[in-house]
């Protein structure tokens, strides 16, 4: 009698095909094999998520660091099994980089990895900014901060433009938000990972405002600006996802349009987000160009030509 599922075992006992003794043995075997399957699939799921991270253009340092963190957590878990001393898993992070350099995307992927590894129970990402955390009157800030923290337990609290919390001066309620955040980081370090993100320069001065902040975030990740070539690759990827193609002239035109700041100090340049806006604008321009034609071929519907980029200079400059 072959039993593949526990229900088959129960039915076999009922029908008198196997004894209860044998049934228990079979159930135990099934539990063991299914347990191994789950283990195997967890590793596979993590590998899939890391592959998703690898598919992002550029960000080589970031990818290396994420793999490092993954390896660190895994080894700490194995050490714990062998009753060896383990480092406390404090994984609060600071992401520094210009807008559109992939900070939020990487944070989301990290949430998924941590959930699969069992570091976080839910692994979701709560994205907040100053307005969500700072209140309007005395005592309001702590309440707002606590509400957001409560939502984030079991996942990641991602505070975008975090430096703005310390920007209002002495009487600003932002300071209260920072104090509340620091307390939650300590009290709930097992349930929450906090990620502060912002521009490099501002974040550096923000960390200096509160002496305890720097040491409380053991992981600092810099998100460098994309090079021209990387931005072009991103553009091509975005087009492929939307089933469009850039013809060679359009690529040259796009390369001319994309002029990333040389010293990474132009905060207004949107990096990958700008590229996405440019592509979306070009797609709309292509639609306007084609609408007057009565018959359009499949190729025409897919190809973006240099003339579609003509009006998108505004996008890049914003």
């Amino acid at each position: 009698m072959t039993c593949q599922w526990p229900e088959d075992v129960i039915t076999a006992v009922e029908a008198g095909q196997i004894s209860p003794l044998e049934a228990f043995r079979k159930l135990r075997e099934m539990n063991n094999t299914h347990g191994n399957d789950v283990q195997g699939s967890v590793e596979q799921r993590i590998e899939n998520i890391l592959r998703e991270l690898d598919s992002l253009i550029g960000l080589n340092e970031v990818k290396k660091l994420v793999r490092e963190i993954y390896a660190f957590i895994e080894i700490q878990k194995r050490r714990e099994k062998e009753c060896l001393n383990t480092e406390p898993l404090v994984l609060h992070m600071i992401f520094k980089g210009n807008p559109g350099t992939g900070k939020t995307t990487v944070a989301r992927i990290m949430g998924q990895i941590f959930r699969e590894m069992g570091v976080l129970s839910r692994g979701h990402l709560i994205e907040v900014e100053r307005a969500d955390l700072v209140g309007e009157y005395i005592g309001h800030t702590a309440q707002k901060m606590r509400d957001q923290l409560k939502k984030a337990y079991g996942g990641i609290l991602f505070i975008d433009e975090a430096y703005s919390l310390a920007r209002g001066g002495e009487k600003d309620f932002g300071k209260e938000a920072i104090d509340c955040m620091v307390k939650a980081m300590e009290d709930h370090k097992d349930e929450l990972i906090l990620i502060l993100a912002g521009y490099k320069r501002e974040m550096d001065s923000f960390l200096q405002t509160n002496p305890g902040l720097h040491s409380r975030f053991p992981i600092h990740i810099n998100f460098p600006d994309y090079s021209k070539q990387e931005l072009l690759e991103i553009a091509e990827l975005l087009c492929i996802k939307r089933q469009y193609q850039l013809n060679p002239q359009a690529k040259i035109k796009l390369l001319n349009l994309l002029n990333p700041p040389v010293e990474s100090n132009d905060d207004k340049f949107g990096n990958a987000r700008t590229v996405r806006n440019v592509i979306e604008k070009a797609i709309r321009r292509q639609a306007v160009r084609l609408i007057s034609k009565h018959f359009t071929t499949r190729e025409e519907l897919m190809v973006i030509e240099p003339c579609d980029f003509e009006e998108v200079e505004k996008c890049v400059s914003v």
Binding site: A15, G16, P20, L21, F24, R28
Partner: protein, 200 residues
């Protein structure tokens, strides 16, 4: 609501334990819900004494369906309700009666989903060789010890022959908590109550 299930071999004292334990918790009248393998349910109201007269006995496989009762217990400052389910005894061999086989299958099926397992072992049947034998109690132990909440109740501890057997049971089941009890005389119920309170 958490569900505690009582399992063990036939005639180990599961039903008597369930009823006397309910009595120990201060309940005088109980509503017992009977659920057969086919899913047919009926509910009967008993006093504890009536239930003992009707549901317990020396005959093997007196219980062939799931018999559940809702009990409550004070845990800290609050009263917690939990479901105590008595099951059909599980033996090693294939039984010739279909209703018993179905009852056993129902027990095994329920074991997979409950929150807390109370495994009743007849101490009078334990001896030195018990450790090396293959018995349904060993299989239940192997199954239960990996689950979150599992406790072994060494029943019939009041019998003079059982006193020495507890050592053999502890040697055979080293990885679990064993509570010696007498379902008949409600002995050892304080420890059982503490165990249940921790797991509901």
């Amino acid at each position: 609501m958490r569900e505690c299930v009582i399992v063990g071999r036939p005639n180990s004292g599961k039903t008597l334990f369930a009823l006397n334990f309910a009595g120990y918790l201060g309940i005088k009248n109980i509503d017992v819900t009977f659920k057969t393998y086919d899913g047919v349910m009926n509910c009967r109201h008993f006093s504890i004494e009536e239930a003992k007269r009707e549901l317990c006995g020396n005959v093997m496989h007196r219980t062939c369906s799931l018999q559940s009762m809702i009990l409550n217990m004070k845990v800290g400052k609050t009263t917690v309700n939990f479901k105590l389910t008595d099951t059909c005894g599980v033996s090693e061999q294939i039984h010739n009666e279909e209703r018993v086989r179905k009852g056993m299958a129902q027990t095994i099926s329920l074991l997979r989903s409950v929150d807390f397992i109370l495994h009743v072992v007849d101490l009078s049947l334990i001896n030195k060789e018990f450790r090396n034998k293959t018995s349904i109690d060993c299989e239940l132990y192997n199954y239960g010890k990996v689950s979150k909440a599992y406790v072994v109740l060494g029943n019939k501890y009041d019998l003079s022959s059982s006193k020495n057997n507890l050592v053999h049971l502890i040697a055979a089941f080293p990885k679990t908590n064993i509570v010696p009890i007498s379902a008949l005389y409600s002995q050892g119920f304080k420890e059982v109550k503490a165990c249940v309170a921790r797991n509901i």
